[in-house]
Symmetry: C2
Subunit: 308 residues, 2 copies
């Protein structure tokens, strides 16, 4: 890694309102977030949605700080002219440790080229006090025409706007090259039907926000898994958008390759599919889960007496 | 109002991490929040849940800063010894103006006596730049025994802990003394059935957080109201708690007294009931809605051309 990730406490005072700023020769955007009481769940650790929201927020603020925000939400001025928007096609996240209430996390994000017509955005989330890495994420984005809803090449004018911001670095999460299988409704062991966007789930484009998809995917994970395990990593493939009228189903299958039974210690792997009731795939996903209290990196530890 | 509400910009630098601090001779707790992209909805303004979360967060941080937090979530050391927790019984909120993405709001909160065995907590939310009041809220809390789940008087030892923090002030929202009617299932025009807490809706006590109730209540408001109006005030009466196994129904009736039809300009009043499927009441509520773009204080303005 070519970057110097040591936390810089005195610098943080430059950002008293927590709105973030550009660091590292203008290529990395950094923002701190304190974890609030309403962002933690039953485990007293920050919820997945909170962590994913921090990623989304820094991505948008990065564009804004770099002067790359046109009238749209994350689109550059040239993209706005051409009715282009960014859509995420792939997201990989590794959760090493979950922060808890009162912790301050530092989120660093930057972009790179991804193939000929894509952009990769990486994030590195660390504990602002100790510098310990908490979460790593890597995502691929392409352009879509807002009117036709078809994918588009990156026009030269847009490339000229964004290329100066590209870093030349490897992804922070190595690409998971295993194919994501298409789950079959008849195969899926756990199904949540009739999921409908709430009014409050819609973003300013009247679309369901990517982060909500993740909530729905985890929704169909079996309760014994949620109770005994924590998400250690996930790979998501976004295949179609859904709107406010959509009715969704969330399917989950626990893989045969999972070690141990659900309520016991052992790593668990799940396959997921979020689809429209009529069958169109919205998101395919794969998640890995480690036993709670196992600490980071799959080091299986003891369950504290109070929760045993 | 005995307090001086002028915003004090230079002070804010004392709180670079946005964790808040005690001001006003030790009786008022103040914390700033910047509104993030994922906290705004389709209208580009902060969601009700976000605003209510800010109230919850400052209430807890107030107790923490005052050294009144035992092992529990908002309970004092003496309360912990006696297995007592705070439960909210009534909440009144007035939304004068909704903040938008990037705004920094200042939340002030303080407590007062409420009758013999209650505590009132007030909040005043203002724009940190201009000092304009955005939201006012007033709530009543009583004590419950965590084991028996029965209400309790305030024991003398607890009173000794909390009384030094009581302010002698009028509520920031005048009490709405109109009775909240019990909605009948057969009467209710809008019903959302089968609402179940998601794993992520549970707090550290494995209970559904008060703020989630509000989301469910607004869930059954008719879409034409949500599309054309914004919540201007609400009164809630919390009658029973619900746990993770609960299945709920959210009922709403638009009052006859509402002016104009739903999709037209005019103030709207709704009655709400959140209940268990078997009938037990969880929350009764009443909400007032004003046309969008009407600005504050019911001043009906013009709808901008782009959204007409």
């Amino acid at each position: 890694m070519m970057l110097d990730w040591k936390p810089r406490r005195p610098d943080m005072l430059i950002d008293p309102f927590g709105l973030g700023r550009i660091v590292q020769d203008g290529l990395v955007f950094r923002q701190n977030f304190s974890i609030r009481s309403y962002e933690i769940g039953a485990d007293r650790t920050a919820s997945i949605e909170t962590l994913m929201n921090h990623l989304q927020e820094t991505a948008i603020n990065h564009c804004k700080s770099a002067g790359l925000l046109g009238e749209g939400f994350g689109a550059t001025p040239e993209m706005c002219k051409k009715n282009l928007i960014w859509v995420v096609t792939r997201m990989q996240v590794v959760f090493d440790r979950y922060p808890t209430w009162g912790d301050v996390v530092q989120v660093d994000t930057w972009v790179s080229a991804s193939g000929k017509n894509g952009m990769r955005r990486d994030w590195l989330v660390s504990d602002s006090k100790t510098g310990e890495v908490l979460t790593r994420a890597s995502s691929v984005w392409v352009m879509m025409n807002k009117l036709t809803r078809r994918l588009s090449k990156i026009p030269e004018e847009v490339r000229g706007e964004i290329e100066p911001y590209f870093m030349n670095s490897d992804p922070v999460v190595a690409e998971d090259s295993r194919r994501l299988v298409k789950l079959d409704k008849s195969m899926a062991e756990h199904v949540r039907k009739g999921l409908t966007p709430r009014w409050s789930d819609l973003d300013v484009n009247q679309h369901v926000n990517n982060v909500k998809y993740i909530g729905w995917i985890l929704e169909s994970a079996p309760l014994p898994v949620l109770e005994t395990h924590e998400l250690s990593s996930m790979t998501l493939e976004y295949r179609r958008e859904c709107g406010r009228e959509s009715i969704l189903q969330s399917l989950t299958t626990v893989s045969d390759s999972s070690v141990g039974d659900l309520v016991n210690v052992g790593e668990i792997e799940c396959q997921h599919l979020l689809q429209l009731e009529e069958g169109s795939e919205i998101v395919r996903g794969r998640t890995q889960w480690r036993p709670k209290y196992a600490k980071s990196f799959g080091n299986v530890g003891q369950i504290p007496a109070e929760s045993a």
